[in-house]
Structures are given as structure tokens and as C-alpha cells.
């Protein structure tokens, strides 16, 4: 019999908005491994619509950069946005995702400020390392480490 096993479950994060309604977000804590080996834990929104993992532009000091716009300029279309916006791409950024160290591209982009996530966990390099099950009704993200 065919089976698909998941190794890990992440509960969505819940917050109350100003009108008392509960909003939930699938958020994953990812470790950014700096050049000196230090690890910084960053919350990223799980986003299948993001082709590349994208961090807030003002996190550039964590990448050891002097400014956020030193990388390769790209333009990207955002959900709900009319015009493409500028992003700057950096290659070979060390991230630790679900305990697995990966070198992947990261975009820096101006994103809305929220205290619950500092960017978007996107597909490039990362998604093929795992299997994901998205269970909206249960507010759970299931992760397989051996897809």
C-alpha cells in the first residue's frame, strides 16, 4: 500500500486582530547562519507563491551586507500588487531549515512590518528538500524530511 509519512507538524500561529477576529499564519522558524557561524532564528511565512525565499530589506546587516540593494536587481510581482517591485538577489546564503543546512538564494525586498514574520519561505532549493502537507482546517503544516 502506498503511504506518505510526515515527520513533523507545525501549528499555525494565531493572533487576534483589532476587531477580535483570529488570524492564523503558517510560520516557520528558520536559522540564518551568519559568516561567523552565529545562528539567528527568523520567522518566515510559508509561501508557496514565493519562488525565492525573501527577507525584509532591512535585515541586510544579518547577511553581512553594507546595504540592501547591493545584489542582483530583479523585479517581482507580488500578490495583490499591480506593478512589479524591485528585489535584490543574493546567492549562497546559509539557512538551516528544519535542521537541514542549505545554501540557497535569498531576495531582499521591502515588505510590510509585522512582528510575526520577517520574510517569506520560498521554493527555490528549499522546497525540493522536503515534502509538505497543508491542512488548513486543522491549521497545520506537515513536513516530511524524506520526500
Amino acid at each position: 500500500m502506498l503511504t506518505k509519512e510526515f515527520d513533523h507538524t507545525i501549528q499555525f500561529i494565531s493572533v487576534l486582530n483589532g476587531s477580535g477576529a483570529t488570524i492564523t499564519f503558517p510560520i516557520v522558524s528558520v536559522n540564518l547562519i551568519q559568516q561567523n557561524g552565529n545562528k539567528i532564528s527568523l520567522p518566515l511565512l510559508f509561501d508557496t507563491g514565493a519562488s525565492v525565499t525573501t527577507l525584509r530589506h532591512d535585515l541586510y546587516p544579518l547577511l553581512g551586507l553594507a546595504s540592501w540593494d547591493a545584489g542582483n536587481l530583479c523585479q517581482t510581482q507580488t500578490a495583490g500588487g499591480k506593478d512589479p517591485v524591485n528585489t535584490y538577489r543574493y546567492e549562497g546564503i546559509n539557512l538551516e531549515v528544519f535542521g537541514k543546512s542549505l545554501k540557497c538564494p535569498v531576495n531582499l525586498m521591502i515588505l510590510p512590518v509585522t512582528p510575526l514574520y520577517m520574510g517569506l519561505l520560498g521554493r527555490d532549493t528549499i522546497f525540493q528538500e522536503f515534502g509538505f502537507g497543508f491542512w488548513e482546517n486543522n491549521k497545520e503544516l506537515h513536513v516530511s524530511f524524506k520526500p
Binding site: M1, L2, T3, K4, F6, I10, Q11, I13, S14, V15, N17, G18, G20, A21, T22, I23, T24, F25, P26, I27, S29, N31, N38, K39, I40, S41, L42, P43, D58, L59, P61, L62, A79, G80, P112, V113, T114, P115, L116, M118, G133, W135, E136, N138, H142
Partner: protein, 156 residues
């Protein structure tokens, strides 16, 4: 111990959901009959374009375990998964954090704000000076948070 799990009355001493599903799927019945029986257990299924059957049997759940109005309260009092501790702590203490650290970058370790600063660069310096390892970092907006998202809003 007997309970009603996802529409199936089971004994937790003897239940083997995988065996149950296997017996239905390999029982020799017509596919339509098999799916009907699976439906009767309240188990969701999906047929791929190539004809494979996948069943959503990732875990057992007890339906209507608590009244819906108590969910948030019980969740807040519950144990948090270790990897999500800092994030959960921040989400549950947003009002406090907005009151104490408006417009600040904060570093959280073990359910506590260990450093705060107006700038990320200064925060990183503080962390370095204090040998604080693997902190959880975020910025607390000074203004009320506008949750711009295309994900569903749900009132519980």
C-alpha cells in the same frame, strides 16, 4: 478506553488505523464501494490522475473534543512545541511587547526579551557583547499592526 475518533468508534487499545484502511482498500470490492466505505469513516481521500488513491490518515483526531469557544483559552494554556517557543511566545504577548517595546528590534530567548534596540545593527552588537547564541529576532511595530494577507480570516 473508547472514544469517537474522526467518525470511527475505536478502542485505543486495539486500533490500528493503517490495518483498517488496508483491509478496506484491498478487500476486493469495487473502487466506488471502497470509496463509499472510506467516506463512512469520515476519512478524506484523493484520486490522482494516474488512478492512485491517497488517504488522509496522517493522525487520529477526536472530534468536538472541546467547545469551540474554549479553543483559544486552552491553546494559550497549553504546552508549546519546543521549536516554536519563541514565535508562540511573541504571538501570545504581542500586546505586552507593543506596550514595552514599540518600534524596537527585540531578541527573544527562553520566553524573555534579552536585548532591545532602535536598530538591528545595535541589537546584533548587544547580542555579540553578551554572548547570546541563537536568539529569535523580530521588530515590534510602533503603530498598530495591519495584517495584510490573502490567507483566510476566521472568527473563532
Amino acid at each position: 478506553m473508547i472514544g469517537s475518533f474522526v467518525g470511527v468508534s475505536v478502542s485505543t487499545d486495539s486500533i490500528n488505523i493503517d490495518s483498517l484502511i488496508k483491509s478496506v482498500v484491498t478487500g476486493g470490492s469495487a473502487p466506488e464501494e471502497v470509496l463509499k466505505e472510506i467516506n463512512s469513516y469520515g476519512i478524506k481521500w484523493h484520486l490522482t490522475e494516474t488512478g492512485d488513491l491517497w488517504l488522509k490518515s496522517w493522525r487520529l483526531g477526536a472530534e468536538n473534543f472541546v467547545p469551540a469557544e474554549n479553543v483559544m483559552k486552552i491553546r494559550e494554556g497549553g504546552e508549546v512545541h519546543s521549536e516554536a517557543n519563541a514565535l508562540e511566545w511573541v504571538s501570545k504577548n504581542l500586546s505586552y511587547l507593543r506596550q514595552e517595546y514599540p518600534g524596537k528590534w527585540i531578541a527573544v530567548v527562553d520566553d524573555d526579551v534579552v536585548c532591545a534596540s532602535d536598530s538591528l545593527t545595535d541589537l546584533m552588537q548587544q547580542l555579540h557583547d553578551n554572548n547570546i547564541e541563537q536568539p529569535f529576532i523580530t521588530e515590534i511595530p510602533a503603530q498598530p499592526v495591519v495584517w495584510t494577507t490573502t490567507y483566510a480570516n476566521e472568527r473563532i
